[in-house]
């Protein structure tokens, strides 16, 4: 790939539209991770929630003939997975990570099982794609109109709304503050009369719903079918984005978009015939950047923490 083609890639509106498409599920996953993390739960089950939501969305869209109902079913499936996660961690007091692993195993197995029971094949199930929106007038703006207002899935807008809704939740609502309190110090929160179990459950349900939107988007927006393995670690990338975003919804979403951009680049670069890097290696890019981002963030945090620790030790 020559330099010129490389630059051409960045000049096309299609590339930016692709970033939007690929970033949307990551933003939902990252927000889900954020809400559960604020409640003090490392929710690894997001991946599994997305898988089951993607399947439920595809299933119900073909069953009812309506993509919107499919999305609702997906969100419902996500919330159900959230409920399951909450039941296991809050009621049964199982280790979060183990519940997460179990949820993911369950969702992966159950989705293949259901698809096979219905269709007799194990790989995919067709869904009805959502109709993309064309915003009148705004779509005529050059470049911006083409990227943001032409043939854009409504869930993309919803992802943007969700970022600020989550921000609003933690800044302006009682529930948000309670979630923060439970996450910071459960015993202290309980001592002032907050029902910690209930707050945690609600947070996990919200996270499940957000993951559900992400999953539904994958099977009804990004593609128009459910494929096994279509989530492909997006839930985990979302968790990483949340870790780097340090609990700030906007920063978290921006990092999710960054990972989406890398993903878009790795896909777009594959379409250039003169580009010699094989697609298998390009596929490692999103994971490599995620790891790199996580490491850089952790090193910065470590450096920030440690001078203070050293000073404290000297004082003592």
């Amino acid at each position: 790939m020559t330099m010129r083609e490389f630059l051409q890639l960045f000049a096309t509106p299609e590339f930016y539209a692709m970033i939007l498409q690929l970033a949307t599920p990551l933003v939902f996953a990252a927000l889900a991770a954020l809400v559960s993390n604020k409640a003090g739960v490392l929710n690894i089950g997001i991946e599994g929630a997305m898988v089951s939501a993607a399947l439920a969305a595809a299933l119900f869209s073909t069953l009812t003939g309506s993509a919107m109902l499919g999305v609702l079913a997906g969100v419902f499936a996500g919330i159900l997975m959230g409920l399951f996660f909450a039941f296991c961690t809050v009621r049964l007091r199982t280790n979060h990570i183990l519940v997460g692993i179990a949820t993911n195993i369950l969702a992966a197995g159950l989705s293949v099982f259901v698809v096979y029971a219905i269709t007799g094949n194990k790989s995919d199930y067709p869904g009805i794609a959502m109709t993309p929106w064309n915003v009148p007038l705004l779509k005529d703006i050059p470049l911006i109109g083409e990227v943001f207002f032409t043939e854009v899935n409504p869930l993309v807008y919803l992802a943007i709304v969700a970022v600020f809704a989550v921000r609003f939740l933690f800044r302006r609502t009682v529930l948000g503050v309670r979630i923060l309190a439970v996450g910071k110090n459960e015993a202290a929160a309980a001592s002032v009369g907050i029902s910690t179990d209930r707050v945690k459950t609600i947070a996990l349900l919200i996270a499940g719903g957000l993951a559900g939107f992400g999953g539904a988007y994958l099977s009804l927006g990004y593609m128009s079918s459910f494929n096994t393995g279509m989530v492909a670690g997006r839930g985990f990338i979302g968790i990483a984005a949340e870790a780097i975003g340090a609990g700030n919804p906007v920063a978290t979403a921006l990092f999710a978009v960054l990972f989406g951009a890398v993903n878009a680049f790795s896909l777009a670069a594959q379409t250039f015939p003169s580009f010699t890097i094989p697609y298998e290696l390009l596929n490692t890019l999103p994971y490599l950047t995620t790891t790199a981002g996580l490491v850089i963030y952790s090193v910065i945090r470590y450096r920030k923490l440690h001078p203070r620790l050293a000073k404290k030790e000297i004082k003592q």
Binding site: T94, G109, A243, T290, Y302
Partner: protein, 384 residues
């Protein structure tokens, strides 16, 4: 002679200490809980099978009794249990060290690929043809696994997320290797050249697919037990996992203990990958992650993180798998029903409140409070 008698008396006292009434009672309760968890998972699975199958009775019969129907079928159980045993031991080491490093998954892939490549390109003979590839696979996995482990110890990089990213990276690099670099075009597939016969593990019992890999796995389980419970390194490892702050304050290098536990676990997983490939594959052709890493955590949890119980847990999951394979082959139910069972067992066994004494106390307390129409202070469920 004196030594022998001393040894015997030590052995006796060890057994005594293991089976004092308190130990025995705990073991019985724990075992009972596990059995109940398995029973519930089975009931759910039967319900699911009954829901989707046209002939549920047949499906359940294949699922439950199929693996025990002949020595060949039981051989499949042992064959399926072998990689799970490696993965379970790997997870034991990692969990006991207090980490959740998921790179065991990638280690299986890397270990298998490197072992296959070493077997093909070194082309050794005799016992070396098996030892060298397995060692190469193990070392390669350990080398890659060192990165997330060290990053966790030094900069507190979340090892769970980073190791999962590493899994995907290793998998895609591996897929690239077998479809571009070491591809054998005569195979008609994206796969390596055939693994030489000298490097393939020998069959243990006739008419089965059980190989010497099973013996290696059992050996690893015993060594892991000795390491974890009979050496000071193992003691440090367990201390760090149980209570990091305490371990640090008594002078244990917790960073090193954490890294070594993860590295060893990943090494075991890498060895497992090598054994799996040399035992059951003619060429290396994995295009996705094998899934043994995650299964390993489940096996370890069922075995309560005790290396000597891991073989039994692995045998059980192997039995589930072969039953499901037979059921999928002979009836209309997909073998993924196993994953439903596995997920449920994992959650129920790992839960602190499921049928625990605290749970019983909670239930009883709730009953009493309800009768007296009094709200408990702070909630009865707060026994954590």
């Amino acid at each position: 002679m004196k030594r022998l008698s001393a040894f015997v008396s030590r052995l006796c006292s060890w057994f005594k200490s293991q089976f004092t009434s308190r130990h025995l009672l705990t073991a019985l309760i724990e075992g009972g809980r596990t059995l109940i968890a398995i029973l519930i998972a089975y009931l759910v699975a039967f319900a699911v099978i009954g829901f989707v199958s046209d002939d549920p009775e047949m499906a359940i019969r294949w699922f439950v009794f199929g693996p025990l129907s002949s020595p060949t079928e039981f051989g499949e159980v042992l064959k399926n249990a072998t990689p799970l045993l490696f993965a379970g031991i790997a997870a034991c080491l990692i969990i006991k060290g207090g980490n959740f490093n998921m790179f065991t998954e990638g280690a299986f892939y890397a270990g298998g690929l490197i072992a296959a490549l070493a077997a093909i390109y070194f082309d050794l003979s005799g016992i070396l043809a098996i030892i060298i590839p397995l060692a190469c696979g193990t070392l390669a996995a350990m080398l890659i696994g060192y990165i997330p482990a060290k990053l966790k110890a030094k900069y507190e990089v979340n090892e769970f997320v980073s190791s999962i990213m590493f899994n995907f990276i290793v998998m895609w690099i591996g897929v690239w290797l077998i479809s571009n670099v070491v591809i054998d075009v005569t195979s008609g597939d994206n796969a390596t050249a055939p693994i030489p016969d000298a490097s393939r593990l020998r069959i243990l019992f006739e008419n089965t697919n059980v190989t010497t890999g099973l013996l290696i796995a059992l050996g690893v389980a015993v060594v892991a037990y000795l390491y974890m419970f009979r050496t000071r390194f193992g003691f440090r490892l367990r201390m760090t996992g149980d209570n990091k702050a305490f371990a640090r304050s008594v002078g244990i290098d917790v960073g090193r203990a954490g890294v070594s536990s993860q590295i060893l676990g990943i090494g075991v997983a890498g060895l497992g990958g090598g054994v799996e490939i040399l035992a059951n594959y003619h060429r290396f052709n994995w295009k996705t992650l094998p899934g043994f890493g995650f299964d390993g955590f489940m096996v370890a949890i069922i075995a309560k993180n005790r290396p000597l119980l891991v073989p039994f847990a692995a045998l059980f999951i192997g039995y589930l798998r072969s039953g499901a394979d037979l059921m999928a082959f002979n009836t209309d139910v997909a073998q993924e029903v196993v994953q439903i069972i596995q997920g449920l067992i994992l959650i129920l066994v790992a839960s602190e409140a499921f049928f625990s004494s605290a749970w019983f106390r909670g239930v009883i307390a709730k009953r009493m409070f309800r009768r007296k129409q009094l709200a408990p202070v702070g909630g009865v469920d707060d026994h954590a």
